[in-house]
């Protein structure tokens, strides 16, 4: 998987988690949605680790790697910068 593909896949999984969590806020007893949420979270965690291994920390709070000598958080572009993101032209749900 290229960086763009990995980031896109992780973004998809995290988005599903956000959306399912909002649904669960008003449907806390929906067992099917809870099962789906857990599945999505597990898949996202796997992708996040994979991304962070190659492209640096995603979260300053818990992504520090003990083997790094310098503060990796400030490396790599920020998400609002063009180079961080793949183009999503035509890839959104319409």
């Amino acid at each position: 998987m290229t960086r763009d593909e990995l980031l896109q896949k992780l973004t998809e999984m995290d988005f599903m988690a956000v959306d399912l969590a909002l649904y669960l806020d008003t449907h806390p007893e929906d067992a099917e949605a809870i099962a789906a949420y857990r599945q999505v979270i597990a898949a996202a965690d796997t992708l996040r680790l994979k991304y962070e291994e190659s492209y640096g920390p995603l979260c300053s709070f818990r992504s520090d790697n003990a083997s790094d000598k310098t503060w990796q958080w400030i490396d790599a572009p920020w998400p609002w910068q063009k180079d961080f993101n793949p183009s999503m032209a035509g890839k959104e749900c319409v």
């Binding site: 609002w80 063009k82 749900c93």
Partner: protein, 195 residues
């Protein structure tokens, strides 16, 4: 508290600078029905909301709106990268430029700075949830007007995503309102002994 994740909720990569689009996109950043207003509205209302479901909905939707503030800021920022002097003058973005350069300033497309007067926090759970549902519809309409005025597919993709989210949030607030109504209509007894 909040924890920052170093990615957008939906990726944005705009190849072509466009001063006209930048000028109108700022509406959903700092305009009356924009994302900053949404964040402040829900984060302020949550303190007096009732029922765990409605409290969670306000807290978590506000959190997602923070990510939308970042997305709209990103759209405006990327649209202004590489603009020429002529493009600035022709589009009328020059009146913004003289005050803010290419800095992101929370304001409407008309130039009016963001003000908390666009939102309400009433301390009444039913009133607040109606306000929230209206806010989601108003933001959806604004996204539709922005989509009408946009041809660039790099800009359309995130706009369509954000429009969809307004619809989902409206749905969640509607469910929260049902839950709150049921809660308020059910029998309560009040224990006035101090614990």
């Amino acid at each position: 508290m909040w924890i920052y994740e170093k990615k957008l909720e939906f990726p944005i990569h705009i190849k072509n600078p466009d001063a006209r689009l930048a000028k109108i996109m700022i509406e959903q950043y700092g305009g009356g029905d924009g994302e900053i207003g949404a964040v402040l509205r829900y984060l302020s209302q949550k303190f007096t909301m009732v029922t765990p479901q409605a409290q969670a909905a306000l807290n978590d939707i506000a959190t997602e709106e923070l990510a939308h503030v970042e997305m709209m800021g990103t759209i405006v920022h990327q649209l202004t990268q590489g603009l020429t002097k002529e493009q600035l003058i022709q589009s009328g973005l020059d009146t913004y430029y003289v005050n803010h350069g290419f800095g992101l300033f929370p304001s409407a497309a008309s130039g009016v700075p963001f003000s908390a007067s666009v939102l309400q926090s009433k301390g009444d759970p039913v009133t607040d949830l109606y306000e929230d549902m209206a806010a989601e519809q108003k933001a959806r309409s604004t996204y539709e007007y922005l989509i009408d005025l946009t041809d660039d597919p790099d800009v359309l993709a995130p706009l369509r995503f954000l429009r969809e989210r307004e619809i989902v949030h409206f749905q969640r607030f509607g469910e929260a309102l049902d839950i709150v109504r049921h809660h308020l209509n059910s029998k309560h007894y009040f224990d006035f002994r101090k614990s």
